[in-house]
């Protein structure tokens, strides 16, 4: 008894010290650790105080194709329909409900949020994603954001309180799930499990039109089957548990919760895996929609919202959409949240644009490629310009479907921009690059050395490129400033005119 008292006393003292250390940690080390191990916190903190609608999603939100005219995210297109509301987004690639659940707990600084739109990605429910290698760093990065004393979170990080699995172990689990995943279809089906179906594809292969096994096609069919041929178990799937936690959190915070079930390429799935595959996808969709609708959540069913041509990735299943696809998803979500914000709804119709004059003031409102080069170090107008130097050789780049330029204006391009540089070498040039399957690539450059002064001030420079007839059938055009000199050069107010 005496010994027990002695131990208990020391234990209590040690516990007291830990509480003190926790405070010490919060004051002096926590922020540094968050920046190092959980930088996603910055995205959460960047959600403005007056946000009314929050969109949270993975890479589908902001992945754009180079030929998109408007490269904005789904959340931006959604916001277009509610010009008077304050929208914000948190976008973290490869994330899922388990990650969203943690992030949503850190929004105390934005008390005006009324509606939260959470991405529901059907692929994230499958065995491959649940046991994905990306899970380890994701789960690790979430540890410090858990709702526990910060020093305890750090303990969990130090003592590997997250799943650590080798590639081999992960594949073993995935294989086990595939083997146990029984497929029930309304008619007799040859393959009782995902594993059997997948194995058959690998062994038998898929032939091309000449009857020869086509490896690329075989892999694609196998990937579609691995991804979508499963029966969602609402009781055991960890994602469901996480979404339920989000529902609880939404109730606690009085948020209108919307699950945005993303579009999958069901058209291609049916083409590759036949009706059984699309049947399973639809069955899983129905389960999700019913399950969450019953729980009072607004579910936006986008599963079949997009045709095959709106999917960017052709060689594997993803939810990355072209501009029109992102606009359609945004519009569908906008429709669904109308009931929460009826007065603010101002529907917007998009149409394909034929355009011959383009302008970008580098302020971020017009999204071109390489937005990461914009900087507030210098600006001719507004606050930003695009900077090229040893780290970034390419300036903010205009990339556009050449097919969307009227043929009558494909004779020449006049490029004009404001430029600021102390040193201009021969290697600094305007570049025009036109490519496409039907043409031989056209790549033309024009050195800026003869036309620009080496001065510390801003100057306007321009050049006229005469295009040859052979580029008429080009598909994509890129225009940018190439700076291989390593010296810093700023450009602003870029103007491109097709004539």
């Amino acid at each position: 008894m005496k010994i027990l008292k002695k131990i208990a006393l020391r234990f209590i003292i040690f516990l007291g010290l830990l509480i003190g250390l926790n405070i010490f940690y919060i004051f002096f080390f926590l922020e540094n650790d968050l920046q190092k191990h959980s930088p996603i916190i910055n995205q959460v903190r960047a959600v403005p105080q007056d946000t009314e609608v929050l969109y949270i999603g993975e890479s589908s939100n902001n992945t754009a194709a180079s030929i998109d005219i408007d490269k904005r995210a789904i959340s931006d297109f959604l916001a277009d329909h509610y010009p008077s509301l304050n929208f914000a987004d948190i976008t973290k690639p490869a994330s899922h409900s388990g990650i969203y659940k943690t992030l949503l707990r850190h929004l105390e600084h934005a008390p005006k949020i009324k509606t939260v739109i959470v991405t529901l990605n059907m692929r994230s429910f499958n065995a491959e994603w649940i046991n994905s290698g990306l899970e380890i760093p994701l789960r690790k990065s979430m540890l410090l954001l858990q709702n526990r004393p910060p020093l305890f979170n750090r303990f969990m990080l130090s003592f590997k309180g997250y799943p650590i699995t080798t590639e081999k172990e992960r594949w073993k689990r995935i294989k086990k799930d595939w083997m146990e995943s029984k497929l029930h279809l309304p008619h007799p089906f040859t393959y009782p499990t995902t594993f059997d179906w997948r194995t058959h594809i690998e062994e038998a292969g898929v032939n091309d039109e000449n009857g020869i096994r086509n490896e690329k096609l075989t892999n694609l069919v196998r990937d579609y089957v691995s991804t979508y041929a499963f029966e969602l178990d609402l009781k055991t799937n960890p994602r469901i548990k996480d979404f339920n936690a989000i529902i609880k959190l939404a109730k606690k915070n009085n948020w209108n919760l919307v699950f945005n079930l993303l579009a999958e390429n069901i058209e291609k799935a049916e083409l590759l895996g036949g009706k059984p595959l699309s049947y399973l996808m639809r069955e899983n969709r129905d389960k999700l929609v019913h399950y969450f609708t019953d729980k009072g959540v607004t579910v936006v069913d986008n599963l079949e919202a997009l045709p095959d041509e709106q999917f960017i990735d052709k060689d594997w299943p993803t939810e990355h959409y072209f501009e029109m696809g992102r606009k359609i998803i945004g519009k569908n979500v906008a429709n669904a949240i109308q009931k929460f914000h009826p007065e603010a709804y101002s529907p917007k119709n998009y149409q394909i644009i034929f355009q011959s004059h383009f302008h970008n003031d580098c302020e971020g409102e017009t999204t071109w490629s390489r937005m990461e080069t914009t900087t507030d170090e210098q600006a001719f107008s507004g606050k930003f310009s695009s900077k090229t130097d040893a780290e970034n050789e390419f300036s903010l780049s205009f990339e556009f479907p050449f097919t969307n330029i009227p043929d009558s204006t494909k004779n020449s391009i006049e490029i004009s921009m404001m430029l600021k540089a102390e040193v201009i070498e021969e290697t600094v040039a305007f570049v025009v690059d036109i490519r496409g399957e039907k043409i031989e690539r056209y790549w033309a450059s024009c050195s800026l050395k003869p036309m620009a002064l080496e001065t510390n001030g801003w100057q306007r420079i321009h050049h006229l490129f005469i295009l040859p007839d052979r580029v008429l059938d080009g598909e994509i055009i890129s225009i940018y400033l190439l700076n291989s000199s390593g010296e810093p050069i700023y450009v602003d107010d870029i103007d491109i005119l097709f004539q």
């Binding site: 010994i3 002695k6 131990i7 010290l17 940690y25 750090r154 990080l157 130090s158 590997k160 081999k168």
Partner: protein
Amino acid sequence: MLFNTVDFVLFLPIVILCYYLLKPKYRWMLLLGASYYFYMCWKLEYIVLILFSTLIDYYCGLQMGKRDNKKSRRPFLLLSIATNLGLLMGFKYFNFFSDGIEDVFNLFDVSLSLPVVDYLLPVGISFYTFQTLSYSIDVYNGNQNPEHHLGYFALYVSFFPQLVAGPIERFSRLNPQLKKAHSFNYDNLKNGLRLILFGLFAKMVVADNFAPIVDQVYDNPELYSSGDIASAMLFYSFQIYCDFFGYSLIAIGSALIMGIKLMDNFKSPYLAMGIADFWQRWHISLSTWFRDYLYFPMGGNRVKISRWILNILIVFIVSGFWHGAHITFIVWGLVFAITYLVENALDKVLKINRDIRTFSVKHILLAAKTFLIVTIAWVFFRSENMLDAGTVFRTLFTGGSGVEYIENYSFLWTILIVFILIDIALFNQRYDGWAEKQPLIIRWATYVVLTFAILVFAGVEDHPFIYFQF
């Protein structure tokens, strides 16, 4: 299950609590079950290997115990040796030998393709096979009575704190302790926790912070400057020391709480005054194993000088080979053998007296020289192959492209300096003993600092204990 994981933080107290709640006669069952569970956390199937090794050695021990003379015992000793070395051969050295045979055939333009073993090396196989071998040899020599209780014998082979990376215990030392009815002892709890705390500090704060930097430099040494290479070599010396030293302390501390005293595996090795001294301080349980079961049976130093030289070469080369089936480990062993022999010769010629005052200038100079040799030898130990080791040495002297560089130097050097100072302060003693002698304030201050350092400064990348791969 790794010692520096949440799993072990939960596992150990549960086992200890159950251990003291159980009647002593049932404790072996608990410890055996816990040990097998501990091992199966890595790979379920490999428990079969331990069971197989246990049963064969148990049987051989019993059979040898029934026989009076060595001659009649010999077949059973050979069976035990063949079983344990067979396991090692099959799982650890098969590819090394098959590659070697293929290379020999290739020299004569004969293409030979032997099968390749690509399964995962069973964790700790070199440790438990050597531990059971020592039992069989002791029984054979009549130095040890065979164990009749299969449960206790199985526990000796698999006792979880030291199962996967030692210390390699002798039967005569461990088995009586496993059988003893230990009652709870506060001092054991206190000292055990102190050792675990310090072990975690060495592993998680020192070794795990150096590990990613060392990996980064050894992956592409040609991209770094001479200074960075020298730093990486230095960091690796402390990474491997703190990694293994930390593991050993946690193992010793965990066993101590249950009243079981495991042998010390390290005694300030980097303050050794020579290579011979280093090997009396580094991985002591293995070096004494080689001394008792290889060096002495070959005649030790009571033979002609040429034979003694051969004995030394054999012991160090086998020691290198024990670590891994690769030429780099053999070269590592050879470096130690040669420096040991040269040092021995110089001692005799120059009449160097190593019986000197601790931390005198002479001690410091000799320790620095020994540390330099050991650090050079670690390059072979760490490199994937001889070509990589060559690149490290070449870059050390000529400098690489310098495209890459080590970041966060100030943090790493702070850790290094702090640890060196601690190592000096703890020269020839353990942290538990040192702490016992300190006033309450100092003692608790070190607990707080070590705990905080483990929680806040631990490396967060996943780096298993280096010696688990052996």
